[in-house]
Amino acid sequence: MTAEDSAFAVLGMLGDPVRRQLYRHVAAAPGEVGRDAAAEAVGISRSLAAFHLDKLVEAGLLTVSFRRLSGRSGPGAGRPAKVYGRAEGEHTASVPPRSYDAVSRLLAEVVENAGLDRELHAAAKAAGAAHPDAVAGDLVEVLRARGYQPFWDGETLRLNNCPFHALAEEFPALICGMNLALIEGLATYQWSPAMEPCPGGCCVALSKNKSH
């Protein structure tokens, strides 16, 4: 099986709408998710959720571990429950074949070597501000639609996913700076985005300004 074949096999697992909903819920959750919580979020039975969640683990899209959800430990605490989380790997398939990732890596390298950080950041900010939903809309929804997987941590909006992960690993200063500028462009005056790296997620966190 080629790499392309296995990508299609993995992504094919998400063809079922219920399974896809479960995947999205678990992948976007800031911590691990138990079967009951996942079933409830999607509105299906616990046993159906368990079936699909285990299929997603088999496909390598989710990871599974065991945890005592009750908070108790020692004898009488009951069996540890299965909890699910987003798996690390990335799966991309394109028809007809496209390789934007190879191009973006090359471009990033040239921009980095040319020292064009500020030009990139300015362009990102302008692109964010030009987004049709940016001014009118709900920033949380705009970020969700762009794959950031936003969640509230008290008063702070954190982003559970970095949409530019591989590039950000390779060119952190350049790409994380670009991402901050992009979010600054998307955010209206009511928000303050700041660089506050979140493990496994995006390096930007946002807070809502108290008064305006």
Binding site: A114, P172, C176
Partner: protein, 156 residues
């Protein structure tokens, strides 16, 4: 624990004098970022000048009075990577081109030192020269091409 620590050096050519308005934001953030480094997991040591707060008084190249040096020691590549890219330090790093010119040549180096050793400015500059001349190798490398710590010698 290994008997080795990771030394790190990077140099940067300022776009304007250190006490001018162009560098003001950089200078203002230094105490906070240095304190963040000092308190980070795996931090061992950081080079400071006679002023005792940071290394901004050093000019590691006699022919270049705009060149600054930053040198520190960490327990591991991971500890240094976490501080560099996964803390507030990234906020400052992403603004590097406001304050420092792009360098055509290698401007940083990582190398392993016996725990307890404190690198000098000359030693650090020599490691950058090694990366410039030979590319990353076991004696001087980069984040992108890391080398493992030397194996411990003479075990009892």
């Amino acid at each position: 624990m290994t008997g080795f620590h990771l030394a790190q050096v990077n140099v940067g050519r300022m776009v304007a004098p250190l006490d001018g308005p162009e560098l003001a934001d950089f200078v203002a953030q230094l105490p906070e970022i240095n304190a963040l480094a000092d308190g980070s997991p795996g931090f061992v040591w950081r080079m400071v000048d006679d002023g005792g707060a940071d290394a901004t008084a050093f000019r590691p190249d006699d022919n270049d009075d705009m060149l600054l040096i930053n040198c520190s020691v960490w327990e591991s590549v991971e500890a240094l990577r976490n501080f560099t890219y996964h803390t507030d330090h990234l906020r400052v790093l992403s603004r590097r081109r406001e304050w420092f010119h792009r360098m055509a040549e290698a401007y940083q180096a990582l190398w392993w030192i016996p725990a307890g050793h404190r690198p000098s400015v000359a030693e650090a500059m020599e490691r950058i020269a090694m990366v410039r001349e030979h590319g990353p190798g076991p004696l001087a490398f980069t984040f992108r091409d890391p080398y493992p710590a030397p194996a411990r010698t003479a075990q009892a």
